[in-house]
């Protein structure tokens, strides 16, 4: 009975519209390209914003370095006598004079910038190969 029913049900199969598979494929490719273009613009905006943000952040960082006396402590490092006698105090003062918040901010912006550059490059490469058989 099983075999006869399988045969009967297979005879009763409805035939697929020949264009349907291609249409589905093209719809998916179109959507994939759209999503990739969207991601590309988002990451580009983030990249450009972080690059623009880096200018004031670095200006502030340089200003903070000079205001905190960091350069003076650094110059003392090259004074052989001071370093051998007061190395502990000098290291502590040097650490204290670091503008930590501004350093974190500037490094974060650099990190975000490089991350978005990486994503943009990836999206461009992927977009080029959407619908293709193989990515080299």
């Amino acid at each position: 009975m099983e075999k006869e029913l399988i045969k009967a049900f297979n005879n009763a199969k409805y035939q697929l519209d020949t264009n349907l598979t291609e249409n589905i494929w093209h719809t998916i490719i179109k959507r994939e390209k759209h999503i990739k273009r969207f991601k590309l613009s988002i990451f580009s905006i983030i990249g450009i914003s972080s690059l623009a943000g880096m200018i004031p952040a670095f200006n502030m960082l340089l200003k903070d370095f000079s205001q905190s006396g960091f350069y003076e402590y650094v110059s003392l490092l090259f004074n052989g006598n001071a370093l051998s006698t007061y190395w502990k105090e000098l290291t502590l003062s040097l650490a204290e004079s670091l503008p930590t918040i501004n350093i974190i901010l500037s490094l974060s912006l650099v990190f975000v910038f490089f991350l978005s550059v990486r994503f943009v490059a990836k999206q461009i490469i992927n977009n080029k190969y959407v619908g293709k058989a193989y990515i080299a």
Partner: protein, 184 residues
Amino acid sequence: MTDNELIELYKNGNDEAFKKLIEKYSSSIYNFTYHITGKNNASDIVQEVFIKVWKNINRFNPSKSSFKTWIFIIAKNSITDFLRKKKQLNFSDIKNYNDDYSFSENIADENLLPDQMLQKLQDSEFLNNLLEKLSLQYKTILILHYQEEMTFDEIGKTLSKPTNTIKSYHRRAILELRNMITTK
């Protein structure tokens, strides 16, 4: 190449592998959808199914179910959504059985459909007419079992029902088919 290998290839950037999956399953999904929703809506639903598969391919877990079962679950859900929108029956609507079946329950599986009836079913138009009249639940089980050659366990996973329930429904579906042939 197996379905899992094609999925892996697609995840590694080979888009053509996904096209191969569409080519492999579009006919089955179309046929399944056509039987339940009719020709006019089948193409749109099939397209929707493959878009859902494409969007959720990373969620597919081969250790839980085969790709075939997974795609049929998505198809079933898409059809359920469609039927709900149209306020028609859905897959979980269970037919109330009447007592007419109590006698038939004692018939052995292999004798459920005599050769003469099986011969009649070889006429595709006749069978499709019968399927149209069959309840959604029964029709689904018969199509998945005999057209897609899915096991009762796979059908159970697809319809979220225990295997024994599917076996019982299958038997009742065959009996319903038998009754319909007799009354024709």
